[in-house]
């Protein structure tokens, strides 16, 4: 159950949607892109045939009477086989005579008879108003069914009124905005077609829900139903032999065209007779689909415990009670759609008929009300509201009566009374006004007596004695057994007798009474193939003596009774133009008659054919002379033709036939011209759009070029346009001229290779890179006019200028930046060296100290040894002189003892060895230092990375030796790697120092006494040299891992690190060497930095 307020909101939203659709369609139509002129839309809009009576009533009828409901849709399907003959003819007649309604159509055929128009209007009004009430009843009943608090809700009283207001507004805005009712209402038609699609979709959804969700398909439902008592009681199978079956078929066959709303949609709203051909299968297909689930829903409802009394609302109640509240809401909207479509179109067409054929004659006869003739449109609006209101009043008065429930089929039977006059009018030339009046009035009277009166009795408004005994006790006239006939159902009985009287009197009256000449003419025109609405060429007969100005005034006086002054003037001008007499002041009788005929046809579009005919006959009167002249005109024509009456008739028939053929041909040609014209208009529009777009694009391009030119001329950046094939400089901006030191003209005469010093092959490779987008950034040395070589960064892209592809280069002088970078790198190196200096000094100091000690020892030892050597010299002299040898030997022994010569003999070689070792260490450190601080070069050289790593390990030894053991696993097969050695060493140093600091940090953190490990490995991997430096330090938290290569990012305390080390390392490896540097780490376990350097670096050796 839904809250009433929610339901009303949904209704309002739905109506709002329809308003939007209609407005959109009208806007499209006004711009020549009509949506309504489409066979699918036409076919869908015809489906307003399926009203709430179909939507809810079919299921009810199926539950109570079996298959009989299907005849309402099978009848139209059968009748549609004749549509290409019947409906096409009706459409052509409508086009020729500006037919606005069913009443107008009948009236036009029978000499523009106002009596017939009034009769048709009254019958339609009486037959259709209760039908509108039935729709309103469906809306209000389902509203209360779906809303939980409906019984207490204050809107109960006003729900009907709300629907009335919404329907009236829609019908007025989209159905009666203009007086000319023959004009198509494209917005309304599109909205109706949308409504029809929605109701079909929802009905199918409900059908699928019942058949496949509540039950297990068609077979299951039929199987279960066949086993119920209800089936035996219903005898559904036998319903196919229902005696009312053929009657239903016949009624629906005609009803689908002759119900006023159907006539309006099928005939008046038809924009192209070829749409009928599509509608001939699309519309019956729609009917088939909407009926596919009727029987399953009916059976499903009964199987679920529903009763025949409530079967009308199974479509709503089944989803509502079995778990599909929103499906129920959709079902409600579907029913609402079905009802509103019918109400809107019916009220609009009935209002047109009422104003043109009931109100207008009254206004013309009542002097005091004549002023209303100028307000016909407003009168039509009032009529629409009044008709819907009348339906609402009727619904609230008769409520659940038998009459209202059966009004659907009664309305079909009522409009069936139009069938003889319309069908006869189209196909039987002798049918005339008197016959039509007699037949229709008799048929309607019998319909009222045999079908309507019994419903009044059954509703309790008249005495049952009338049915039982007949009026005044005359059994012969009992309404349901007229003339004593029995054995027929009431419907068959009523239709039979009404048709007997209708057809009989129509034919008898037509044969008995003679038709007027005018009517005969109309009859013949209706019989012909009306494919043309061309104007008959003006006759040259007669002298031009009639004052056109005076006649114009007379016509104007007639028109202003119905139209505003400006509209009347415009209409007269159009008709004068159409008859080709606009420039004339005097016209002949023949020309005047053509003019009046044109005016009448146009006025018919606003007030109907019969009213227009009558108005002009009263307003424009021929004097005696003119009447005589008219008679004389026809006589002269006959004389000129020199024909007897029989010959004339034969000739006329022949020429008419010929004219018909020509007209048909002309019509086809005209249609083709129209088609081509519309194609041309469409092409023109498209062309215009394209031109607009192109103009816009050109303007945009011009502006873009101006912007580019302005940038090019005034920007301080150096810009060049270079031909990608010849390498000629196409243009250079003033900044380029200033930079290179050449005049712009000189640059334009140069090739880019003169500046960048590339060979033609290299330049071509660069061009290809730019063209494919593979490489757009280059660094080249550019030579200036004064011979200076500047390092420049070139950003190039391929662009089109004035239709030619050129390389557009923006050049940035990097020389200063390079110097700064070099200085920065040098500074960093110096910083590192500064950092290393103390360690290196310590490393050198230790061997230097013991080399010094040894040297001092050797100096002292030498002094001591000098004494021994002196004595040895003396000993040697004495030995030569052979004197005092023993004494001297004793002295030597004494001195040797004194100086501990044995000690000296042992220690002196050691001292030498140690000193040499110390010197070697110093030499190694100095060598490593030298290698590490390799002087910067601009070009890469092939370097043994293992050796470079060893040097770096050596110079940094003091940084790590107290905290870590250094483990190296260097690949002896590692080939030389092209690189900038000084900068690569710097990278290794940074990584080793970081590793050492991380280990120290970890040791500090966990108080560990043992050393960590730094492992350095090198490997060859594909085309890369892979260097990994692994530490067992504190690791790098994941949240900062992505930022460690950012400049100035550091986790160290202020003053302990600048945050430049890893940033520079990244720049060196990635930017300068095209390699990669990555890190992997686990907090507390350490980190691995992996550097990959390409082994092949083209262009660098």
């Amino acid at each position: 159950m839904f809250d009433p307020a929610v339901t009303i909101t949904i209704i309002c939203l739905y109506m709002g949607l329809l308003f939007c659709v209609a407005s959109w369609a009208e806007r499209r139509a006004s711009t020549g892109r009509s949506v309504a002129r489409n066979p699918a839309v036409y076919s869908a809009s015809l489906a307003i045939y399926c009203t709430a009576w179909t939507y809810y009533g079919s299921v009810g009828k199926a539950a109570t009477s079996g298959w009989i409901f299907l005849t309402i849709y099978l009848g139209p399907t059968l009748g549609i086989f004749l549509w290409w003959v019947v409906l096409r003819k009706m459409v052509r007649i409508k086009n020729k005579y500006h037919v606005t309604s069913l009443a107008d159509f009948v009236s036009a055929r029978y000499g523009k008879s106002q009596t017939l128009a009034i009769m048709v209007t009254l019958i339609a009004l009486i037959g259709i108003t209760p039908y509108i009430a039935l729709q309103l009843k469906a809306v209000t009943s389902t509203f209360f069914l779906i809303t939980a608090k409906s019984e207490k809700f204050w809107l109960k009283e006003y729900m009907g009124l709300l629907v009335v207001v919404l329907m009236s507004l829609f019908a007025i805005i989209f159905g009666a905005r203009r007086l000319d009712a023959s004009e198509r209402h494209e917005g309304m038609v599109v909205a109706l077609s949308v409504e029809c699609v929605i109701k079909l979709a929802i009905f199918l959804a409900v059908g699928l829900f019942v058949t496949f969700v509540l039950f297990n398909g068609f077979g299951d439902i039929f199987q279960r139903f066949s086993q119920t008592v209800a089936f035996r009681g219903l005898e559904i199978g036998k319903s196919l032999s229902n005696p009312e079956w053929p009657t239903y078929l016949a009624l629906s066959m005609f009803g689908v065209l002759f119900l006023p709303r159907q006539f309006h949609i099928a005939v008046v709203e038809n924009s192209d007779e070829r749409h009928i051909l599509k509608a001939m299968w699309m519309f019956p297909l729609y009917l088939l689909l909407i009926n596919l689930f009727v029987m399953p829903i009916a059976m499903g409802g009964l199987l679920k415990g529903g009763t025949g009394m409530k079967a009308d609302f199974f479509v709503l109640s089944l989803p509502l009670h079995y778990g599909g509240p929103w499906l129920a809401m959709a079902a409600f909207i579907g029913g609402f759609s079905a009802a509103t479509g019918m109400i809107i179109v019916s009220s609009m067409t009935l209002a047109t008929m009422v104003t043109n054929h009931l109100l207008l004659p009254v206004l013309e006869r009542t002097r005091k009300l004549r002023f209303l003739r100028k307000h016909l449109l407003k009168c039509r609006w009032a009529a629409i509201a009044a008709i819907i209101m009348l339906g609402h009043w009727f619904e609230s008065c008769v409520g659940e009566s038998y009459m209202l429930v059966n009004m659907g089929i009664l309305a079909f039977a009522a409009v069936f009374q139009f069938a003889p006059a319309i069908v006869g009018g189209i196909f039987w030339p002798r049918g005339n006004k008197q016959g039509a009046i007699l037949g229709m009035s008799a048929g309607f009277a019998v319909w009222s007596y045999t079908l309507l009166v019994p419903t009044f009795v059954k509703s309790g408004w008249l005495s049952e004695a009338l049915l039982r005994n007949g009026p005044l006790g005359i059994g012969f006239l009992r309404p349901e057994r007229l003339f004593g006939i029995s054995g027929m159902t009431p419907l068959n009985h009523g239709v039979f007798w009404s048709m007997v009287f209708n057809v009989g009197l129509y034919m008898a009256g037509s044969l008995y009474f003679a038709a007027s000449e005018e009517e005969q003419g109309m009859a013949k025109e209706f019989m012909e193939d009306m494919s043309v609405s061309s104007h008959t060429p003006l006759s040259t007969y007669g002298e031009a003596h009639i004052d056109l100005g005076a006649r114009r005034k007379q016509v104007e006086q007639v028109l202003v009774q119905y139209l505003s002054d400006s509209e009347a003037g415009a209409a007269i001008d159009q008709c004068l133009e159409a008859t080709g007499i606009r420039a004339k002041t005097l016209v002949s009788m023949a020309e005047l008659m053509e003019f009046l005929k044109e005016i009448e046809a146009r006025l018919a579009g606003s007030i109907g054919a019969s009213s227009a005919h009558r108005a002009l006959r009263q307003g424009v009167v021929l004097d005696m002379r003119e009447e005589a002249e008219l008679t004389g005109l026809y006589t002269r024509i006959l004389q000129d033709l020199q024909l007897g009456p029989t010959e004339l008739r034969r000739k006329i028939d022949y020429y008419k036939e010929r004219q018909t053929l020509l007209s048909d041909h002309f019509s086809k040609l005209e249609a083709r011209v129209e088609e081509r014209t519309s194609e041309l208009v469409a092409s023109n529009l498209q062309l215009k759009t394209e031109i607009d777009e192109r103009t816009k694009a050109e303007r945009s391009l011009r502006e873009s070029e101006q912007r580019f030119r302005s940038l090019f001329e005034h920007h301080r950046a150096i810009m060049l346009l270079v031909d990608p094939k010849s390498f000629e400089i196409r243009d250079a901006n003033p900044a380029a001229a200033e930079f290179y030191g050449y005049a712009r003209e000189e640059l334009r005469a140069m090739k880019i290779t003169e500046l960048n010093q590339l060979s033609a092959e290299q330049a071509a490779a660069v061009s290809r890179g730019i063209e494919t987008g593979e490489q757009t950034r280059f660094v080249f040395p550019h030579r200036l006019r004064d011979g200076q070589i500047r390092t420049v960064e070139v950003h190039s892209s391929s662009i089109t200028v004035e239709g030619r592809t050129v390389n557009f280069s923006i050049i940035h002088d990097l020389t200063e930046q390079k110097i700064l970078e070099s200085q920065l790198a040098q500074a960093q190196k110096l910083e590192s060296i500064g950092q290393l200096a103390a360690g290196i000094a310590h490393e050198i100091n230790t061997p230097a100290q013991f080399v010094g000690d040894n040297t001092r020892f050797l100096r002292d030892a030498c002094a001591d040894m000098e004494r021994v050597f002196a004595l040895q010299d003396q000993l040697l002299g004495r030995l030569k002189e052979r004197k005092q040898v023993e004494e001297l030997a004793g002295k030597i022994e004494e001195v040797c003892t004194e100086i501990d010569s044995q000690y000296l003999r042992e220690e002196i070689p050691k001292a030498f060895a140690q000193s040499l070792d110390g010197l070697q260490r110093i030499s190694g450190i100095v060598g490593a230092m030298k290698e590490f601080s390799h002087p910067g070069t601009d070009s890469k050289v092939c370097v043994d990375l293992n050796r470079a790593l060893q040097s770096t390990i050596t110079v940094s030894r003091n940084e790590w030796k107290y905290v870590a053991e250094m483990v190296t696993d260097l690949d002896p097969a590692l080939p030389p790697v092209p690189c900038l050695p000084g900068e690569i060493n710097q990278v290794f140093l940074n990584l080793i120092m970081n590793a050492s600091q991380a280990i120290a940090e970890a040791a500090k953190g966990n108080g560990a006494q043992h050393k960590g490990t730094i492992t350095i490995t090198t490997r060859t991997l594909d085309q890369y040299a892979r260097i990994s430096i692994t530490d067992t330090g504190c690791g790098i938290p994941e949240n900062i891992r992505s930022r460690i290569f950012d400049p100035f990012f550091t986790t160290k305390d202020v003053g302990k690190g600048t945050g430049q080390g890893l940033a520079i390392s990244h720049s060196v490896v990635v930017d300068k060497h095209g390699g990669t540097i990555t890190v992997d780490s686990e907090v507390g376990r350490g980190a691995v930095f992996v550097v990959r350097l390409p082994l092949d670096s083209p262009g660098d050796k």
């Binding site: 549609i80 290409w84 500006h98 004009e183 005898e235 001939m280 299968w281 019509s667």
Partner: protein
Amino acid sequence: MERSARLLRQIEFQVLCFCFGLVLFNWPLLGMSWLERPQCAFIWLFLLWAILIFLLFLIGRAEVSNTAPVEGSNDQCSIQR
């Protein structure tokens, strides 16, 4: 194909189809006893209906190929308010 299209375009053929449909959907054919079973009636009615629609589709297609577009002429020459 052309012969079939010509057949479909003839008014007499369309009238024949109309009569044929009337016969199919009326007594005595609908009085056949096996149609008293709902599922049989359902299949019979909807299948025949679909066949008729297909026939209408063929007629419509045959006529379209033979017809020039003829639009309503009342758009240009009506009095508008």
